[in-house]
Point group: C2
Chain length 651, copies 2
């Protein structure tokens, strides 16, 4: 038996992989591969910040057999710095674990270094501010031996006299603190009432701080918008990678994890609740407030995220006929979910439309309002899953298509998140095949040879443009194969003899090698865009239409993709380019709208039941349509709005 001198190490969630010399630590390997792992002490084994989680088992996707035995034994430092439950969950310190074999590992959010750009920023909304919680100030008479009315009854009568509020109930946790707060405030208090019926908090004296948190749980990214419920202003935003990513990258992988591990649901639920508590802490801290100032939360997320967040088994959602556990919106006490906010606060969870078309899409609908539109809208929410809504005030159809995370840069060899160093825009000269690109974090396009441009990989919008440009330049054909006859040093064969196209030269990257687009990258994009196109077309067929009035691209990613490029590769049916609009993170906007206006919540419940869900896979034409849609832009369909471009493409 010979001992190999190098081993394969794969870092999740970035997917960065490479050969690493035996005996190097994980922290050293991370630096070699350009993976940001936090280490305040610089590898001196003192700070304990470089936690990573070893994933054990054989991972077919990566052809890697990852084992804890492939690392040096757990050291004394690690036993000291890691909690017992972390040790049993496979946590190690990157600085102290030496590589002795192949390893797949996960870098948890807390250990990741390097800034992240919150692409899910919060725009202006037009919404009447009428939140579910309101504050009322009241001054009460002190009790005497002649009038020793109980505290709560005294408060209720004060609220009735001063504010005409009747029939109120009181949250139990608010009642617990009532006698102390009344006396602390010398019988002058501020009362927070939820939904005009439940006292959820009593504070001493005057206190008009009233915050709410809109939460968007994406499969990959979680964002929280701390919002002033009086002004509607977003006072702080925090986002993080969904901590469940370590249990599976997409929805189906997480459902499978819940099915195949007895404590799988519990672990994933704990992960997201822990993450949200961090977001609550971070945003309130930024605003100089405390979690107790969050009086109401509104949550959107796809059906699986919704179920796991609530601690409901998502298994049925992953098995035909895919019924969710609940469709209607819910109001759950934050404390029942383990969230640390105001003790009496409620979490309002938007309704689910059907199956995979979840509360996140309901958020999109609230933001775009197709149910009030005369024009027929095709709303495409591009996240890890693709959700589509088609229609207007008369009729609405929806579906979900398994695009996978390719649009987000995952499953792409040099794919990465939209973070500094990611190539986000690309242009290829049709004649010379020379490439210009723009990197996130740099103002200018990279126009000529320039060292240390710092490119690390390609993000989602970059990969779409790369494919479109390669197609337009004749480097790839309609069917997605490379045209080997293209005469350019950038088109080359990789180690295994497969063709790939160089986007960034070695000197232009910070990873010590070229950044390329491979054949399997093109295949991944074909599957993703084919699924999306088929979804759009199936809905249009059901609606009996062949064109739409407008295409609305929702999802943060939708704001960054090039409209022309996406149409050139056929991500969705032809449409006037001027009629394609990006609306940003509409799911998050919908959560903020529902946070600010309680009437809109009722509207959401009504609309949710009106949207008819179309199950794509049982459509008799699905297979044929999907196969045709894998072509660039399509095997048969015409694209008059970009025909001037398509016509120029060399055969």
């Amino acid at each position: 038996m010979t001992t190999k001198k190098t081993h394969t190490v794969i870092f999740q969630p970035s997917g960065s992989r490479g050969p690493v010399k035996r005996g190097r630590t994980i922290l050293e390997a991370a630096r070699d591969l350009g993976v940001g792992v936090e280490s305040i002490c610089g590898g001196k084994r003192t700070c304990g910040k470089c936690k990573v989680v070893i994933q054990e088992g054989f991972f077919e996707k990566f052809a890697i057999n990852s084992k804890m035995e492939n690392l040096s034994p757990v050291t004394e430092e690690e036993r000291h710095k890691l909690k017992p439950e972390e040790l049993s969950d496979g946590y190690r310190l990157a600085c102290s674990s030496k590589i002795k074999g192949d390893v797949l590992l996960f870098v948890p959010e807390e250990s990741r270094s390097g800034g992240q750009i919150v692409r899910k920023a919060a725009g202006e909304l037009t919404v009447d501010i009428a939140p579910a919680v309101n504050k009322y100030y009241v001054e009460l008479e002190k009790p005497t031996l002649e009038d020793s009315t109980a505290d709560l009854e005294r408060l209720l009568s004060g609220l009735e006299q001063n504010h005409k509020l009747k029939g109120l109930e009181m949250d139990f946790t608010a009642l617990r603190s009532l006698p102390d707060v009344l006396r602390e405030g010398d019988w002058k208090v501020t009362v927070t009432i939820w939904d005009g019926r439940e006292i959820i908090k009593v504070e001493a004296g005057v206190n008009d701080t009233m915050m709410g948190l809109a939460i968007d749980i994406g499969t990959t990214t979680v964002v929280g918008y701390l919002t002033n419920l009086r002004t509607g202003e977003v006072v702080a935003i925090d986002s993080m990678m969904n901590p469940q990513v370590m249990y599976g990258e997409d929805v189906m992988a997480r459902i499978t994890y819940a099915m195949s591990h007895e404590d799988g649901l519990e672990k994933m639920n704990r992960a997201i609740i822990g993450g949200l508590n961090k977001i609550i802490r971070n945003t309130t801290e930024k605003a100089g407030l405390s979690p107790e100032d969050v009086f109401e939360l509104v949550l959107v997320g796809n059906t699986a995220m919704h179920h796991i967040f609530l601690g409901i088994n998502p298994e049925p959602v992953g098995l035909s006929p895919f019924p969710p556990s609940v469709q209607h919106s819910l109001d759950v006490k934050a404390r029942d979910l383990g969230l640390t906010a105001c003790k009496g606060a409620n979490v309002h969870v938007l309704p689910i439309e059907a199956g995979f078309v979840g509360a996140d899409n309901m958020g999109v609908v609230l933001a775009v309002e197709p149910h009030k539109s005369d024009e027929i809208l095709l709303i495409i929410d591009i996240g890890t899953n693709g959700e589509i809504v088609l229609g207007n005030k008369d009729r609405l159809l929806s579906t979900s298509c398994a695009t996978g995370p390719a649009f987000e840069g995952a499953q792409i060899k040099y794919g990465m998140r939209a973070a500094p160093g990611a190539i986000e825009r690309i242009k290829i000269d049709p004649k010379t095949k020379e490439v210009r690109f723009k990197v996130i974090g740099r103002e200018e396009w990279h126009t000529e040879f320039e060292e240390d441009v710092g490119a690390k990989g390609i993000c989602g919008s970059g990969i779409i443009e790369a494919i479109a440009e390669m197609f337009k330049a004749g480097i790839i054909r309609k069917n997605g194969t490379f045209n080997a006859e293209v005469d350019s040093p950038r088109l080359r064969k990789d180690g295994e003899g497969k063709l790939e196209f160089v986007i960034a030269k070695k000197e232009e990257t910070s990873i010590g090698k070229e950044i390329t687009v491979t054949l399997s990258d093109v295949r991944a994009m074909q599957l993703a865009k084919g699924a999306l196109y088929t979804g759009c077309k199936t809905l249009m067929k059901r609606m009996g239409i062949t064109t739409v009035d407008k295409v609305i691209l929702a999802g943060a990613f939708g704001s960054y993709i090039d409209r022309e490029a996406s149409m050139v590769i056929g991500m969705f049916p032809d449409c006037d380019l001027d009629k394609i609009a990006a609306v940003g993170n509409a799911a998050g906007d919908g959560a903020r709208i529902a946070l600010l206006n309680k009437e809109i919540r009722k509207e959401a419940d009504k609309v949710a039941t009106k949207i008819k869900y179309i199950e794509l896979t049982i459509d008799p034409d699905f297979q044929t349509e999907f196969m045709r849609a894998m072509y660039f832009p399509h095997m048969k369909d015409q694209f008059p709005n970009v025909s001037h471009i398509l016509e120029k493409i060399p055969e």
Copy 2:
């Protein structure tokens, strides 16, 4: 410095005290003093069952300075058998702790040996069975691709179709288990609905088990009645000493403990919740069921017990003007209180009348129904506190009097709980002053000299009869002093030269010494009965009446006292002896009634606001009346119904 050879050891809650030789263990001391401390291994230091809690500090009442240093150091066995938090809370093993100085200690419920008679037994009730929870069986259509309605919406539509139930909400914990239960039951399920509006549990298949628990938290005793909500039958009873006793024997002591210790409220709350969870476990186990089968709980208790149970600061209840935090009944999720029952179960807490007249008295009112009576009733609930309600359907007054726990045998030298070995009945021959008595656990009266009768002490009903008999026999005078001229060897001086009367001779007891009634025992009874009498009389004065139609004695203890004896010593104003009725543990009965009929709960809330509370201490005549009422039976008032007895008493 000389080292004393004996030290004072006092065992709480029994109050048993005595000199103990230096170097003896606490377990040996307990045996010497007749205190039951559990010890399965017989003191071999192996079982760890003999836990006791050392109370540190100077206790004025006992003139004892108790310190942990007055015991041998903590041994290895103790470190092994006791949890760290127990060690820091002052826990020791009785077998391993040797006495080196004066010690006051508490024997927790779990360490007490010897059977206890549940005097709070459950009688028959006349009540329409209409509980707040109901079960419905429903069979649903399975979801298909054509109809993938969500689980909850499917269930709701099934309940509407089959049982005409509309507008239902669902408890969040029940929703969490919904998808699994529906599939486990093959879409045939039993649904439990609370108050016609909230689904609190869904069970697979047919399951008609529906239990409720009525809970009576007394200051001294806690009882739970596991009740079949279909039949009303009490299927199991469990009782225990209120575990809060270690923090204070009466209501004021516990309020003081909450005020003077930062975590005092939390500790007492944890103690009662832990105790109730034990009762839930014990009763359901006896019935062959699980805590999950308890679908509803109803709780009664005085205002301080009510507040501490809910985790509400009881301090204002103990300070003039004594307002409670809430008067109205409450429905709180059992899980919010830390109670282990069905996860969606509610605890209904009966309303408080006013100040100290709490939810326990409301239970008494529900059982006795003075608000429906034509006759004027004087209802006296004798527990550790005395609560009085006077009136009929036209008008109701109430008050509370600080009787202290003397009626329950506490603060009495040889006082003990109503447990085997307690003297419960006493007769004294007026001429010979010879004593006959009856001991709990023995069928027969003790009529002549008999060794090993096994008397250990005197319980509450015994002490009342002892005082009455001593008064009738001329051994004590109207003003409570001993008549030293009585010629009987039983009237003797104790070590300090104070007179006392021997009830049981040394040979008749199992404690190796005589059981006596001392001067301070008589004083304690004078204070207790004086307070009670003053309360009754003050209410009657306010009502403008001098006699009542009926006297109702509530409280378990009320069932055991001799009506004639209690009138002879003047516990309450004169009344036809035939019109004095004992109704047992009416507070517990009221809790059972409210558990079985939800309409009566609404009635309770209405009645609670109608009963006018009279604060005794601000009555201008209070001091004078109290002083006069300390006499046997009274300084001035006449007792025509027992005048034939009173006239015979020698001056």
